[in-house]
């Protein structure tokens, strides 16, 4: 219950230009956001840049946030997802080669999942990440990505199936 109170208070402080509050917010969410963007974009440097842009946009335009519709964190991730999509459209051709999974011997489950994830298209990849890792509900994702909840569900289903097929296909045969 106090967390919500803290959230409201934080937003008010951001609107007033409180840099200390902003630094705290950054400290709390920067790692998660960059983790999400790194997997979305397949490029650590680009992820860092887009994360910075997202934080700056929130700082410069805090009134774009509507507390009745989402949390500040969800708003931040929404900004980042849109900026990442823009980045991808601009740089997809060059970066896609970088983001493709590397051929070679894979040894652990994490590598398998990372490679499988990298082979998904950016949109389903980001949607799965936001749902499974960041834990946003379908209703929250609908607000964040500005699409109907039903579309979120159908896209999630499609994304899961794509990832599953890639992941299963890459898995080595288990010893019986």
């Amino acid at each position: 219950m106090a967390t919500v109170e803290h959230e409201q208070e934080l937003w008010e402080r951001l609107r007033r230009g409180d840099t200390e509050a902003f630094a705290g917010f950054y400290r709390q969410h920067a790692t998660h956001l960059q983790g999400f963007l790194r997997h979305y974009l397949g490029d650590a440097k680009a992820a860092e840049d887009v994360a910075q842009e997202a934080f700056l946009q929130l700082w410069r335009h805090p009134n774009g946030f509507n507390p009745a519709r989402a949390t500040l964190k969800a708003y931040l991730f929404g900004i980042a997802a849109k900026r990442a999509a823009d980045w991808w459209r601009r740089c997809a051709r060059e970066e896609r080669a970088v983001a493709s999974p590397q051929a070679g011997f894979r040894t652990d489950a994490a590598t398998l999942m990372e490679d499988a994830l990298a082979r998904l298209e950016p949109e389903p990849r980001s949607l799965l990440w936001l749902r499974e890792v960041e834990g946003y509900s379908c209703a929250e994702l609908a607000v964040m990505l500005d699409i109907p909840p039903g579309t979120v569900k159908s896209r999630l289903f499609a994304a899961r199936e794509q990832l599953r097929r890639i992941w299963r296909g890459e898995k080595p045969q288990e010893e019986s």
Binding site: M1, A2, T3, V4, E5, H6, E7, Q8, E9, G17, F22, A23, Y26, R27, A30, T31, H32, Q34, G35, R38, H39, E48, A51, Q52, F55, L56, W59, R60, A68, R69, T71, A109, A110, M113, E114, L117, W129, E132, V133, E134, G135, Y136, S137, C138, A139, E140, A142, V143, P148, P149, K153, S154, L156, F157, R160, E161, L163, R164, W167, R168
Partner: protein, 377 residues
């Protein structure tokens, strides 16, 4: 139904939604569909593990924060007279800020402590999530048949193997307080959810006590004035998405649970409802505040002014004032045979003690009489 037709329902099931009986029967008896469901669960775990390993890396730089609305070029190029002592002080401040930023980066990504507070006398529970240096504090006020208990928990230090807690507790004795008295103000316990000042006032005269809590165990916290609160919790490296772990995913038929909820009217998303809670009472109920639409009280049995709706696992649907509403919860709202009836009352306003800008939040759990009482305070 065949596997192809059932596939979307497997995804829905993984999302925690209910599916048709026909789809459920197919999934239950089809090894391929069950394997698909298990794959989804494993993929989720692998993705979270992937995120955990990636999160070791601390962000390398903070964004620059120019003042909003300021035109920087003229400011930076303008000449100003600065006394020498002020210039010296400025350099000192800049050095201090640099040290501060370095410290802040080193502290990035602190551990999270998620815990459940449980009043065994009333079965009411809430989930809380805090960090060691977080100004937010977990709080809980439970209205039982004989007394009301308040507890406030702050994490002084969070480690994987032990969490140092500072706890304040108090009891609100039954009886009508004198209007306007200090006791009356304290008894307006719903203020605890509405403002920090309200919490501070309620716990002002209590003695803080420190506890070393070992994650995974149950800590019994004696309450000043009688009673006890049970605390169970765990430490997380990443912020947990919701507190479903702390509430029954298979609640009893006379129990209600709400966690990570959202309210939708028609196709309009009215908002996410913060807070989690559960109750098992004569007529188990919870109340949520969703401004500007108002406050809603949900109970398992009929009560005055309520309309009948339907609850089915994580969804409660009802019609009111010509609108269709759906309340979504991350976990099943109640147990027993589903779908089943639920009774919903709408108040025009949130509890008055929450002030003019109330948050979207649970304002009460317990017997419906207690929840309605909370709505009036």
């Amino acid at each position: 139904m065949n596997c192809q037709e059932v596939q979307p329902f497997v995804s829905a099931l993984h999302e925690g939604e209910s599916v048709s009986r026909e789809a459920a029967d197919h999934i239950r008896n089809c090894s391929a569909c069950r394997a698909q469901l298990e794959d989804y669960a494993r993929m989720g775990v692998e993705l979270r593990l992937l995120a955990s390993s990636a999160s070791e890396e601390v962000p390398t730089r903070l964004p620059h924060l120019p003042l909003r609305g300021r035109r920087w070029r003229p400011t930076l190029t303008a000449r100003v007279l600065v006394p020498r002592f002020a210039l010296g002080a400025g350099v000192f401040v800049i050095l201090g800020l640099s040290v501060g930023l370095g410290w802040m980066r080193a502290q990035s990504g602190g551990l999270w402590f998620q815990f459940d507070l449980n009043n065994p006398a009333t079965y009411a529970r809430v989930g809380c999530l805090i960090q060691a240096d977080d100004p937010a504090q977990g709080g809980f006020l439970s209205a039982g048949p004989h007394k009301q208990i308040g507890i406030r928990v702050k994490a002084l230090d969070v480690h994987n193997d032990v969490v140092r807690l500072m706890v304040r507790t108090r009891v609100f004795e039954p009886g009508e307080p004198v209007p306007g008295s200090a006791e009356d103000k304290a008894a307006s316990y719903q203020a605890a959810m509405g403002s920090r000042e309200g919490i501070d006032r309620i716990f002002a005269n209590t003695t803080p006590r420190e506890f070393d809590y070992v994650p995974g165990r149950t800590l019994e916290i004696p309450v000043e004035g009688g009673g006890k609160i049970l605390l169970t919790g765990a430490v997380f490296k990443l912020r947990p998405s919701f507190s479903a772990e702390w509430f029954p995913v298979t609640p009893k038929s006379d129990e209600v649970v709400l966690s990570k909820a959202a309210l939708v009217r028609g196709s309009e998303f009215l908002g996410e409802v913060q807070g989690s809670g559960s109750a098992q009472a004569t007529n188990s109920a919870f109340g949520i505040c969703v401004p500007p639409v108002g406050a809603f009280v949900f109970a398992l049995k009929p009560f005055e002014g309520a309309v009948q709706g339907v609850v089915e696992f994580g969804e409660a649907r009802f019609k009111m004032d010509g609108y269709s509403y759906t309340l979504f919860s991350a976990t099943p709202i109640t147990g027993g045979q589903q779908p089943r009836e639920i009774w919903v009352y709408r108040g025009q306003n949130c509890p008055p003690s929450w002030g003019p800008a109330p948050p979207h939040h649970i304002f009460g759990v317990g017997d419906v009489s207690n929840v309605l009482d909370a709505l009036r305070k």
